[in-house]
């Protein structure tokens, strides 16, 4: 694949300072690291080396850029929401990650990881999924790159998101139920890690967010950086600069990390929105689980608690370490939102703008609704991380 000279000059990556590279030990401030069983340490180190070399290689970046453009449909547009803005009294812009192939931002990191896995000579992908969006994206990349793919999904989520389960099977992937513990996303991560421990030589673990052991939090953010880079260019031409506020929902934190990276070095306020029943950042209790030192919902003995929210994609008790760092250094703030507010936001966007959002980014809109007095007259950029098709059946029941 060839990239024209003109495209090269608008190559959608750059480097920022605040969300730059982590330290040698994979830390953002005090958070991050590589807390995995010994069997996986050499694999994580190999991945770190492979990612560094690929990311410094223009051929790899060109290939990924063309995949983003010609397969995923990037750049994603920004929509200025006149009706919604009139209703809420602040100027709202949506970064339309819902318009990407497979319907969410997850495709960015998955295309990057699959391309990297192929370059490393891996033939299989294993992934965890909550709502199924990351599972569908991984299954899609596996089909495209002709790789074997196994996706672990909590038994509860398999029931909540049966359409996505069918999609993954249609794409040629095997979906396996995580039956232990809470049977949701955290248990799917456990199962995927256990699988990886046993198949580490042939298999790449395609992790779905900016969490896990180094280099995942950094690598996944770099693959999602394209969201922020595009958005900052789009805002420059639409607004003449950065918006006042950038807001995104936070499960593990990948879509938020992607869009924050484009504005972290500006004056814009950065706001991450967590479900009230899964607010790892809100509680700010540190722990070490699933590979990194970060904030974690846990009891007084360190047993991990189950997160509860209306959206399967945010039902995760931990959060990526870079968000813990952004919270601890106060560069970003993190706010909780209740399920009821999410359902209201879900309906509001559909009614006012003709856009049905996924329940995850509906959290971000829920916060704008709640904070509308504070936001009066400001310009707010919301990362609309996915579309709501996967959630309509659940909402139909909920609203009946």
């Amino acid at each position: 694949m060839a990239v024209s000279a003109q495209e090269k000059t608008t190559h959608p990556y750059g480097n920022t300072s605040v969300m730059g590279d982590p330290s040698e030990s994979g830390r953002f401030g005090e958070f991050g690291g590589m807390f995995v069983p010994e069997t996986l340490v050499p694999a994580c180190q190999e991945l770190d080396r492979a990612f560094r070399s690929a990311w410094a290689d223009p051929v790899f970046r060109d290939e990924l850029y063309l995949l983003f453009r010609d397969y995923a449909g990037r750049p994603s547009p920004i929509t200025i929401c006149e009706n919604l803005s009139a209703e809420l009294g602040c100027r709202i812009l949506l970064k339309r990650e819902d318009l990407n192939h497979t319907g969410s931002h997850k495709i960015n990191s998955v295309l990057g990881q699959a391309l990297l896995a192929k370059r490393m000579g891996k033939t299989r992908l294993v992934a965890e999924t909550g709502a199924g969006q990351h599972g569908v994206a991984t299954a899609t990349a596996a089909a495209l790159f002709d790789m074997e793919c196994i996706v672990y999904m909590g038994e509860v989520d398999i029931r909540r998101q049966e359409l996505n389960v069918f999609r993954m099977k249609l794409l040629g992937s095997e979906v396996r139920a995580a039956q232990s513990g809470s049977q949701t996303l955290k248990d799917a991560v456990n199962e995927a890690m256990r699988h990886w421990v046993g198949a580490v030589e042939s298999t790449h673990y395609c992790l779905g967010s900016v969490m896990g052991p180094h280099p995942y939090p950094w690598m996944v953010r770099e693959f999602h950086r394209v969201i922020g880079v595009e958005a900052s260019q789009q805002c420059a031409s639409l607004l003449g600069g950065a918006p006042d506020v950038v807001v995104a929902c936070v499960g593990g934190g990948s879509n938020a990390a992607g869009i924050f990276s484009g504005f972290v070095d500006t004056e814009a306020a950065l706001v991450g929105v967590e479900p009230a029943g899964g607010a790892a950042l809100g509680r700010a209790v540190p722990g070490v689980v699933h590979g990194s030192h970060s904030y974690l919902m846990q009891d007084e003995w360190g047993q991990v608690l189950e997160a509860h929210s209306i959206s399967a994609g945010l039902d995760y008790p931990g959060v990526g370490p870079e968000h813990a760092h952004l919270a601890a250094t106060k560069r970003a703030r993190y706010e909780p939102i209740s399920d009821a507010q999410v359902v209201e936001a879900f309906q509001l966007l559909a009614r006012t703008e003709g856009i049905i959002p996924a329940l995850e980014p509906a959290h971000a809109l829920g916060w704008i609704m709640q904070a509308k007095d504070e936001l009066a007259g400001q310009t707010v950029l919301l990362n609309l991380s996915g579309r709501g098709d996967k959630d309509v059946a659940q909402m139909m029941e909920h609203l009946a």
Binding site: P37, L40, V41, N190, R194, V289, G302, Q303
Partner: protein
């Protein structure tokens, strides 16, 4: 200075024997402590005691279930410590749990709690060499022997560094995978034992995938001993009680003793 765990294992090796360390889940059933004591009497050289954790990523279905059951019954790390504190076990104990349990309590407090309960060592499988510093400092201060794992994926150079920082023994991971009984001993088990023996004088015990006395004997052609987990825990889950577990420990002991007498 040689710790009590290492000393107990060396004593067995010096007599020409092979080491046997059963793994039992702490807090699983009311008689778990009696089970630990019975295992010691039946011929264990040390006993590994699991402190239940909600997300045990190195463990297969058997030990996961044991964790879930113990947690559902409300077991806490402190309860495990309290019972060990007053117990006479007769052989050294080593706790196995995950990093977050120690981290949450605070590494220093966790290490001090182990020392107060006369636990000799600790295994924290998700705190690898790169992340070991803060824990090792706390453990060393309390003379807790931190046993490190060496896995088939490591280079010889890495295995040497692991063995150098390990205390008590080196835990050789017998296969690429999580804990659980397998039909056959993996070919990787003897290989990793041999590779570790080449870089250390510490006892090298193979665990993960050693589920029968025959497999134990086979791997001990290279290794100094075995850690037997899921097979033991399955007996606990089946309600076999202290006697049932002791019986299995005795079978392993006898098989290992016979194998060393014959050569």
């Amino acid at each position: 200075m040689t710790g009590v765990l290492e000393a107990a294992l060396r004593a067995r090796l010096d007599r020409g024997g092979k080491c046997l360390v059963p793994y039992l889940t702490g807090g699983l059933g009311n008689d778990w402590l009696e089970t630990v004591q019975a295992a010691a009497i039946a011929g264990a050289d040390a006993v590994e005691i699991g402190i239940p954790f909600s997300d045990p990523v190195m463990d297969g279905p058997t030990i996961q279930l044991a964790n879930d059951r113990a947690l559902a019954a409300g077991v806490t790390p402190q309860q495990v410590f309290d019972r060990l504190h007053r117990a006479d076990i007769g052989v050294p104990t080593v706790v196995m749990t995950y990093g977050n349990i120690a981290y949450r309590m605070g590494y220093q407090r966790f290490a001090a709690s182990l020392a107060r309960s006369t636990v000799a060592g600790a295994i924290l499988p998700d705190i690898p060499l790169e992340e070991l510093g803060p824990w090792a400092t706390a453990a060393d201060a309390e003379a807790i022997e931190t046993v490190l794992l060496g896995a088939p994926t490591a280079s010889d150079e890495r295995l040497a560094r692991i063995a150098q920082r390990s205390r008590g023994f080196v835990y050789a991971v017998g296969l690429l995978g999580i804990t659980g009984v397998r039909e056959q001993l993996a070919a990787s088990a003897k290989v990793i034992a041999k590779r570790l023996k080449a870089v250390t004088d510490l006892p090298v015990l193979v665990g993960v995938g050693v589920g029968t006395p025959r497999q134990a004997v086979e791997v001990c052609e290279e290794a100094d001993g075995v850690v037997v987990g899921s097979a033991m825990v399955q007996r606990m889950l089946d309600g076999a009680g202290p006697d049932g577990v002791a019986e299995l420990v005795a079978e392993f002991r006898q098989a290992l003793d016979e194998s060393t007498n014959h050569c």
